[in-house]
Amino acid sequence: MTIMENSGFSSPRNDAFPAGLRVLVVDDDPTWLKILEKMLKKCSYEVTTSGLARDALDMLRERKDGFDIVISDVNMPDMDGFKLLEHVGLEMDLPVIMMSVDGETSRVMKGVQHGACDYLLKPIRMKELRNIWQHVFRKRIHEVRDIEFHEGIDEIHMMRNVSDQSEDKHIPSGTDSVSGKKRKDVDNKHDDRECNDSSAVKKTRVVWTVDLHQKFVNAVNRIGLDKVGPKKILDLMGVPWLTRENVASHLQKYRLYLGRLQKEKELTASFGGLKHSDITSKEPNTNHCLQNLVNNQQCDRTSDSHSIHRNETVIQNVDFKMYEGDMKCTVSMPMAEPKNAINVDNSDPQKSSSTRTSLSHSFGKLDSEVKLATTIPKQYSWNEECSRAQMNRECKPQFQPKSGINSLPLTTLPQSIQLDCVQPGPSLSFRPSSIDHDKAKPEMKPAYVKSRSLGIEQMSPVGCKVDLSSVQTGSKLTNAEGFKFISTAMWSMNNHSLDQVVEGGKESAHRSLNLACGSALKSWDENLHGGFFPGDFQPVNIDPRSIESLNYNNPELTAEVPNYLYDSLKFDFEYPFDSMEYPVMDQGLFIV
């Protein structure tokens, strides 16, 4: 079984799993210890007993991978069973079953809160012990998923960073394949997560929002990861409603995450250029997405780039959605480099104007870029290559327009800006040539916008192109739509119809442009292939099939945002996407 292989069941005993399960029983009562030992042996498990919690911990530490599951009594003279539970969970991450003669709900609840995967009441029956292997199995499966998921997130971040740093560098093909794989995994993971979410509902989970996680990370870093403990973290965090157990389980995951991140870092070090300079956390172990997320947030806030109220909201939603309510690396794509993020801030008209200003600046740059028709084709062709490569992957560019995003500041910004910024809700009736996208409105997620800012100067058309191609490969795309729209917008701008585009963009906030984008991208692609063809935009051939599948209404979009968000984030060419937005806007402004 693959899962079993992945989960480390590699010894010969695996063949007869669950036979041979290595169980450590901890109980100060010698009578029960004897009975449990016999019972477990009858189940064909490998049993080790210990009458003292301290001995048990020593044993566990000595033989790091020597046990599969721990069964422990709650009341022990030398150490509280819950404390042992915490230790095992944090240090060894093994499933722990608690036992007690006391079945009071509060006690059971405490056990579960501390992370016990089960709570058995004495006298314990054989049949209860026979099934303990399921806890081991379940944990392994989840771990595999977690790794895939986190690797995906890491991948996204790494991609993003790579893109940020080298917009015009051709992204190494290694990345492509990796991200392609990751994308798929993440998608699968997302599906799993959705299922998990429903099953997790019954658990009392703390939702680790970005803010909360930031506090957590700050506390951890202040204490020092090697000296950290849930109580210390909790004290530093100063969150009254948070319990030590919450922090303990969060810390556990955090550690696991860091471990994986390290591996990822090693992997991506070869890319040579993963600069997390702006994101790099001050702490030594950061550099994982969580930290980046946090930093990005900070950057966003501090950089005065109009970001982010929206983004934060988005991210948080993403956060919630993407994770089973637990702390997870929020796809901080949106949070990405805020620099010059043209995050139109709806709520702040003044900001809009400043945004406008910044936009015009960037536009200025773009304009020069755009004007160079000769350069564009080159860029496009490069993009094309990229996009082709991308297309080979399982591309699912999806910037699902979030309703929040839709309501992004765009409205307050000048039309051109709005166009650029945001509207992830492309309309199906997107017609690039006419660009009267009453319907079509590329709604880019704020995040997008933000990250775009980076690329504005560099990538515009290229970005667009890539996005388009990615859109093509994917089926859902809010992003794709956005891009398409953007590219369309670009074209239209060239055709001096930016105004139209902008207007259209506004209205179609909630339409699924995906389809349109996809088709538009196709034609875009074709068009671009030969170079820059302003105004030569063919009507989008909207594939009815895709229209259906891409029917993202606002609520749906919102719901799907997280998934797509990080999916698209994974694509290194998302950045081009972002940049695409800006260029469009720039052009629009410029022209207009």
């Binding site: 009562d29 009578t31 009975i35 016999k38 054989m126």
Partner: protein, 151 residues
């Protein structure tokens, strides 16, 4: 004949232990099921282990009861331990006495604790005696049984 009678007697003893509420049949039968060739006297071993260990716990409680004022938290802790232990062999009456004891601890009823404890000791001793007899007979009947098994 003798053997059969013996076995029947053993069976009756066992049944009366269940019927009279001394033993929880479910737990006791589970112990019996654990008995196999590797551990042919498993049940007896477990019971012996329980009584040996419980002596310590009972002593602790006794000492704690002599103190004044009573440390109910400590007493409750000991009794919790004893309760868990007694559940291992399915000692029913003893278990209910220990539950009662803990109730008195919760409300700080010293007299109630002492009274219940005396009752508990009595029940504990009674069961111990019965089981000793039971195992004695079982040992007598056991080997005979194997020897009598047809090839």
């Amino acid at each position: 004949m003798e053997r059969n009678q013996l076995r029947r007697q053993i069976g009756n003893m066992r049944q009366s232990l269940f019927d009279q509420g001394y033993l929880d049949h479910e737990q006791f039968i589970q112990l019996e099921e654990l008995q196999d060739d590797a551990n042919p006297n498993f049940v007896e071993e477990v019971v012996t282990l329980f009584y040996r260990d419980s002596v310590r716990t009972i002593q602790n409680i006794e000492q704690a009861l002599e103190k004044s004022p009573l440390d109910f938290v400590k007493l409750d802790g000991y009794m919790h331990q004893f309760k868990g232990s007694s559940s291992s062999i399915g000692a029913k009456k003893v278990k209910s006495e220990s539950t009662q004891f803990r109730e008195y601890c919760k409300v700080g009823n010293a007299e109630g604790c002492r009274r219940t404890f005396q009752q508990l000791k009595k029940e504990n001793a009674a069961l111990k005696k019965k089981l000793e007899v039971y195992f004695q007979y079982s040992r007598q009947a056991g080997p005979l049984e194997t020897a009598c098994r047809p090839n």
